[in-house]
């Protein structure tokens, strides 16, 4: 599986946030998008998720332009934004009902992606009583309803404790091993060490970055 991002541009008002974003990534890898605050990381992810429309450019998955076919895009791209994309008053099961049919939910809970995320443990718990880690696992579970080959995650481990981060990142590893492509934005050392490649956005352009585990060097490059 090959995802090609070509010449993506985006302007807000008079400010061109993304000037010419081009890169490609293969299945079974995790790509980390780096950059300072306000550099356009979340904007790029929103464009790739289909939330924002780019001023130009294309997103090609195995030869299909995902921006041109909405249904294809929805089926092949999972998106976990910052925040909690869940209905707080309802249980995990109710939230999953929005994305899964009853039969599919049962299958996935019995040994599929929902079982892997351990969602069965808190299926009847209302979201507002869940820990940050549970909420994030449930959010990923919702995003995985179509078993998409591409998973976009905007700072997936922000504000989580080490145990929760470990859970999320171990799922990312499993997803990669199954041939999935993860694109995540991050400032977090643990997340960065899970990535196989790093791309740095600066002044609206994207470039390869060799992350050596030294945060000080990264800070200097931002």
């Amino acid at each position: 599986m090959l995802l090609e991002i070509k010449n993506i541009k985006k302007t807000f008002g008079k400010e061109q946030v993304l000037k010419d974003i081009t890169f490609s990534a293969e299945g079974g890898t995790c790509v980390g998008i780096l950059g300072g605050n306000g550099c356009g990381k979340s904007t790029l992810l929103s464009i790739l998720a289909g939330v924002l429309k780019p001023d130009g450019g294309s997103m090609i998955l195995d030869g299909h332009d995902l921006f041109g076919t909405a249904e294809w895009h929805r089926h092949n791209v999972g998106y976990v934004p910052q925040g909690t994309p869940l209905l707080e008053e309802l249980s995990a099961k109710d939230n999953l009902r929005l994305w899964y049919s009853d039969r599919k939910m049962k299958e996935e809970l019995d040994g599929g992606v929902l079982a892997m995320l351990g969602i069965g443990e808190f299926l009847k718990v209302p979201v507002r009583r869940m820990s940050g880690g549970m909420k994030k696992r449930l959010s990923i579970g919702c995003a995985m309803s179509t078993l998409p080959p591409v998973l976009l995650m905007d700072e997936p481990c922000a504000a989580l404790d080490l145990g929760c981060k470990g859970n999320i990142l171990s799922y990312v590893e499993t997803y990669k091993k199954r041939g999935g492509l993860v694109i995540l934005t991050s400032h977090d050392e643990m997340e960065l060490s899970t990535c196989d490649r790093w791309l740095l956005i600066k002044d609206g352009f994207i470039s390869e970055y060799m992350y050596d585990g030294n945060i000080d060097n990264l800070v200097k490059s931002l």
Binding site: V17, L52, T84, P85, E89, L90, R97, C142
Partner: protein
């Protein structure tokens, strides 16, 4: 995709009905408070020793001394619930004072009115009051009629008393007794025998419901306005992440808003219709000396309950829009409360509308709360106004379109 939209609407409904126990407690508190306040207001109004002073301008030909006696008598009479103060004015002055709100209405007596009345002709009195003083004209007319009846009765008794005194004194003055008798006949001929002494030409009066039923409709609308606060826990706390994910999966802002509003409206309508029906049923069963205002509403409880649906449709759309604009429980409650009190105040839900200048009354009749109040008054009278229906439907559509636009802007924000 269709399944997702239906499930989303269903889940929204489930979210709202999770709130039901909280809403039930809050509604009992609100209903009790509103019921006590209304009961006290009406009871005070009926039993108060302190009478309301109503200043009425009187213009035109008041030169006739009998008419002046009559005006003085009405002013001094004690049969009315209201103290009426007639202010002699020229017609132009009366109009200015009325527009300034210094007098509640004015009467114009045509030239030669009394002479025409004595000659058996029915004169036409022009009576000017504002559209907002619903029921005021009938109240004043009935009070004046009571006073006139009392005056005629007393005049008749006086004439008989004169005759009796003359007989007791053994006077042989035939002329005095004949004079008293002729006076009686004259009174009967010119006044009592005639069913109509004058006609009233009402200018600018609209609406036929009583002031008290208008007050009840006002309180119902205020209740609707405040009711939105009960859903603050669901609607004011927002995380755009959910909207963004839904959007990325093909559930756009219009569908999101429509589903959420549908659930909100159903919840509001169901709880309000249940509570109003229960309240009306209890009032009907108790049958205990109910104020006129309540009995007016009780005459057609089913139409009143169903009549609430259109105001709920428009007002809940407005509340939904306000929740869409703000974020956080404190902000949400504050905005809803200020909006409810502000709109309720100028729309005549707290005080009768005629307390405000005519220009304000005209504007507020086009505002959501004012239009809802006038529509409900129409429902109580069995004549829901078409204009009110259209205004409320217009607000419903407008607020939903605005809500969808705000939601779209939030999803697309940087």
């Amino acid at each position: 995709m269709r399944r997702k939209k239906i499930v989303y609407a269903g889940l929204q409904l489930k979210r709202f009905f999770r709130l039901f126990p909280f809403v039930l407690i809050m509604s009992i508190v609100l209903c009790t408070a509103a019921g006590l306040a209304l009961g006290k207001m009406i009871r005070d109004d009926r039993t108060s020793d302190q009478k309301k002073i109503m200043r009425i301008g009187i213009a035109g030909d008041t030169s006739n001394k009998h008419l002046q006696y009559g005006i003085t008598a009405v002013q001094q009479t004690d049969v009315t619930q209201y103290s009426v103060e007639f202010v002699p004015l020229e017609e132009d002055e009366a109009k200015k004072e009325f527009d300034a709100g210094n007098i509640v209405s004015y009467v114009v007596i045509p030239e030669g009115f009394m002479e025409d009345a004595i000659n058996g002709e029915v004169g036409k009195i022009k009576y000017v009051t504002s559209g907002g003083t619903v029921g005021f004209d009938t109240k004043i007319t009935s009070e004046l009629m009571k006073a006139v009846a009392s005056l005629i009765f007393d005049a008749q008794r006086a004439l008989h008393a004169v005759e009796e005194v003359a007989i007791d004194k053994g006077t042989e003055d035939y002329d005095l007794r004949v004079l008293a008798r002729e006076g009686s006949y004259s009174l009967i001929d010119t006044i009592i025998r005639r069913s109509e002494l004058f006609e009233v030409e009402e200018v600018g009066v609209s609406g036929s419901s009583s002031e008290e039923s208008a007050l009840v409709c006002g309180i119902l609308v205020l209740f609707l306005l405040l009711w939105g606060i009960t859903c603050c826990m669901i609607l004011s706390v927002k995380d755009d992440a959910m909207s963004r994910v839904l959007y990325s999966k093909g559930v756009g802002p219009k569908t999101q808003v429509a589903s959420e509003y549908f659930a909100y409206f159903l919840f509001m309508a169901a709880t309000l219709v249940i509570l109003t029906s229960a309240a009306l049923l209890i009032l009907r069963l108790t049958k205990a000396a109910l104020p006129e205002a309540i009995t007016v509403v009780l005459r057609s409880p089913v139409s009143v309950v169903f009549g609430l649906l259109l105001p709920i449709l428009a007002i809940s759309a407005m509340q939904f829009f306000l929740y869409e604009v703000v974020n956080g429980v404190v902000n949400g409650v504050l905005v809803q409360f200020l909006c409810a009190v502000g709109l309720g105040y100028i729309s005549g839900c707290l005080y009768p509308a005629y307390f405000f200048p005519e220009a304000v009354q005209k504007v507020t009749s086009y505002l959501p709360a004012g239009a809802a109040r006038l529509y409900l008054s129409g429902v109580v009278d069995g004549k829901p106004p078409l204009s009110g229906t259209l205004i409320l439907l217009g607000y419903f559509a407008l607020f939903l379109i605005l809500s969808a636009a705000v939601r779209r802007a939030r999803i697309k924000s940087e």
